[in-house]
Amino acid sequence: MRNKKFKKASLLLVVILLLGTLFACSNGNNGGGSEASNAPSADNGGNDGEKPVDEVTLKVLHNWNGSSGSEVDMTAVEQVIKEKTGVTIEWEYTKGSEVEKVNAIFATQDLPDIYTGPAWGGELDGIIKAAKEDQLVDLSDKLDKYPNLAKAIEKENVPPALYEKAFDAYGGKQFLLYQNHPATPEDAMDWLYGFYVRKDIAEKVGVDPQSVKTKDDLYNFLKKIKDAGLEENGQPVIPLGGFHNGWAVGIGNTMFYGAGYVDKGDGTYENSFFTKEYEDYTLYYRKLISEGLLDPEAFTQTDPIANEKIKQGRIAVLAAHFPAIYDSAKEYVKAHPGSEYVPVGPLDRAGAEPDRPVDLAIQGNNVTVIPKKSKNVDAALRLLDYLASDEGFMLVRYGVQGVHWDMENDKPVAKQEWFDKFAADTTGKAKKNEGISIGLESMSGQDRINSVAGGDIWADQERLAAMENARTILRPNGTSVISAYNPGDVMMKSEQWEMLKPSMDKIGDVWKEAIYAKSDEAALKIINDLRGQMEKTGYKEAIAYTNENLKGKEVVTLQMPN
């Protein structure tokens, strides 16, 4: 009897295990099943609330690493969007590499109804590949019904090189939508990349940060900090540091060469990686590392570890953009008044006259596409067009009018109770739970934060003032927006590109490897090895093609990080 029971129990266990294995292997099929339909809806873009709209839930992949949503099922902002468009949004946020995500969704065909993500790098390459391989909805015959979307991808609203590379590259078809490109110059964001030093440390070592101009000045300044033997929390103060994976300690390159491609003097261009200046730049950083002036963990650390160092006051000079530095140091500065980070320099720029405005590439940061497998293309377009309207833009940035803010004298004004609530919440969750900063802002058309929305109503005034102060120091001659051609974008069209790209993608890794090399000779060998590989995979032919196609065109030879 016991034996029978044992047998039955064993059999049951085997069946459960087997079913479990099979179930785990089954495809989740997120494709939409019976709901899926690409049939055009009777209502196109009706966001006035008068016409009935079909209610649909759309899955949106927000492909920005680290982005996150609200803790509630339906936020106030999403409720308004549902009322206006009939669309309920189901979010998916990327945790990890955005490039990996974009490649994975198309390779596995586990696609969202709307994809939105970075407008650069491997992420954009993945989207262009998907467009060329017929994976995306062609919007060319639909956009006339969605004026807000059409406007953002008009030729004059997209940087020329990006336009040629990603928007006008499919024989008249149109697959990509474009967001967050500044609608007017006053909407353009200058992130104020640079080296920033703790004010109290600069005072301790007796150096005026504004007196640091040249690469030698910067080296001597860092050396003085190291030699001062400063300590915080019982630990030595690190002269120069950055954030995750070395972001953005390498921005000192502008002291050595002007941009990614340099003018050889005969009207042709060369990738800066092949220049003597690039070698000098590499050896300079190698010296910083070997002499203990640059944090040896800078290129391997995660953001939590980087932030921990900053919060403990252990980094003297930080290289990154202003908002990141200001936010990460906030806690320490609060506890130690006078320890705020202030700009170093402005540092000399290779090849630029001292009175030249800072050349910045300003472009939108986001592209949105609708995969062919989207369950309702018209609902997706209706949603995106509404978000790109002025009303949608204000909704996703500021919240619900009448609830979170009011319009006074044609200007949006935050309601004090919400301003106080958001200001008191350092986690940002309070805003997210209302539907602000949950990813909708990535899909809200051109950036009109100043020209239409009257300036960010939720902005921390102290932060804005500090940023203005940094701007005064770092941009004494103002800024100038780059509209010239980037040779890199032209090179991508050469027939050698497929073979060459893997070598070109290695430049950043090889530079890091070289600055850790045991000797200058070893560092140069590492660089020369990659140069050899690039030539072997068609660099010479590709740069000849690039130079041929750039004849008569204005080319970017000076560019600061932004």
């Binding site: 085997v14 295990l17 490649n103 390459d125 929390n233 040896p296 290129f299 090895d529």
Partner: protein
């Protein structure tokens, strides 16, 4: 044994054979079904064409790999790290199993056993984060301790001088307990009469280990060694992805990480499949070779 007799035996013990089914299904689904994806290595993979509809590319991606200026370096690094792990890491679980077998205090033995298994269940990301915290020159406890003896802070991670020690040491720490289980089982299966006979012959504890325990686990050790040679071309991607940095790239870039980077991060799926296939073919050849050598030398082999 003829076929009908075999089936009779299977039917008679069907319940026990049924227990094998989940394992067979697992291997079928995860090891055999994906084999059809190998063709991607010979095709220009396109999102629209998928595995079977993308155009054929011949050996293009294999050529690309061998034309790549670091391919030799990557293969060399993989083999060096794997060999170190194999040569050092293979014998230690055997020693641990023998030592544990000799402990007479059951409670102590169980505690040591459990503690040695635990690291196996900790993911590499946690292990590496712990190592970063413990080994950092900025206030890490290891450097603090060394500092107490007057030693200058050492940059253990991201340093070529310490790279192999860190890689092999952490791998052994993580896997030694788990890998010793099979040897513990083999030792438990040794006929106790052999030990008694050895004792009567006046064998000491060490002699008993030498003449009874080691020969008793020899077969299983040889089989595990043959299987381990199959992973010589694979140095462990999680560990290397996390512990290798720009400073150690010259000796720490390995095939597994190269495959992940080129496939998933760069979107070169066909190239990654080609490198992965190359890795598997070499591993297969290695297993066949070592299996043949083992059969000649010791009469123990997988097939």
């Amino acid at each position: 044994m003829n076929q009908s007799a075999l089936w009779k035996r299977v039917l008679k013990h069907k319940l026990f054979y049924l227990f094998m089914l989940p394992g067979i299904v697992w291997f079928f689904l995860f090891s055999y079904v994906p084999l059809y994806g190998i063709q991607v290595a010979f095709r220009d993979f396109m999102f629209s064409g998928g595995f079977t509809g993308s155009p054929w590319a011949g050996l293009k991606y294999f050529r690309q790999f061998f034309d790549y200026y670091q391919s030799f370096e990557i293969i060399r690094n993989t083999i060096v790290i794997s060999l170190m792990k194999l040569l050092i890491g293979f014998s230690l679980p055997i020693i641990l199993a023998i030592l544990l077998n000799e402990i007479r205090n059951v409670k102590f033995k169980k505690t040591v056993q459990t503690l040695s298994y635990l690291p196996y269940f900790v993911s590499w990301i946690v292990v590496v984060t712990l190592m970063q915290r413990l080994l950092t020159p900025y206030g890490g406890p290891v450097n603090e301790l060394l500092g107490a003896f007057g030693v200058e802070p050492i940059q253990f991670l991201n340093n070529t001088s310490w790279f192999y020690q860190i890689i092999v040491g952490s791998d052994i720490w993580k896997n030694i307990g788990w890998n010793s289980i099979i040897y513990m089982a083999a030792i438990a299966g040794i006929d106790q009469q052999l030990y008694e006979a050895a004792k009567i012959d006046g064998a000491s504890r060490f002699r008993q280990i030498w003449h009874v325990t080691l020969p008793g686990i020899r077969n299983i050790a040889v089989i595990l060694f043959i299987l381990a040679t199959g992973s010589l071309m694979s140095a462990g991607y999680e560990q290397l992805l996390l512990l290798n940095g720009p400073a150690t790239a010259a000796i720490g870039s390995v095939l597994d990480v190269h495959v992940i980077n080129s496939g998933i991060n760069e979107g070169r799926l066909s190239y990654a499949a080609a490198v992965g296939l190359f890795q598997s073919v070499i591993a297969f050849i290695l297993i066949l070779t070592v299996n043949r050598i083992a059969r000649k030398i010791s009469d123990v082999s997988l097939f």
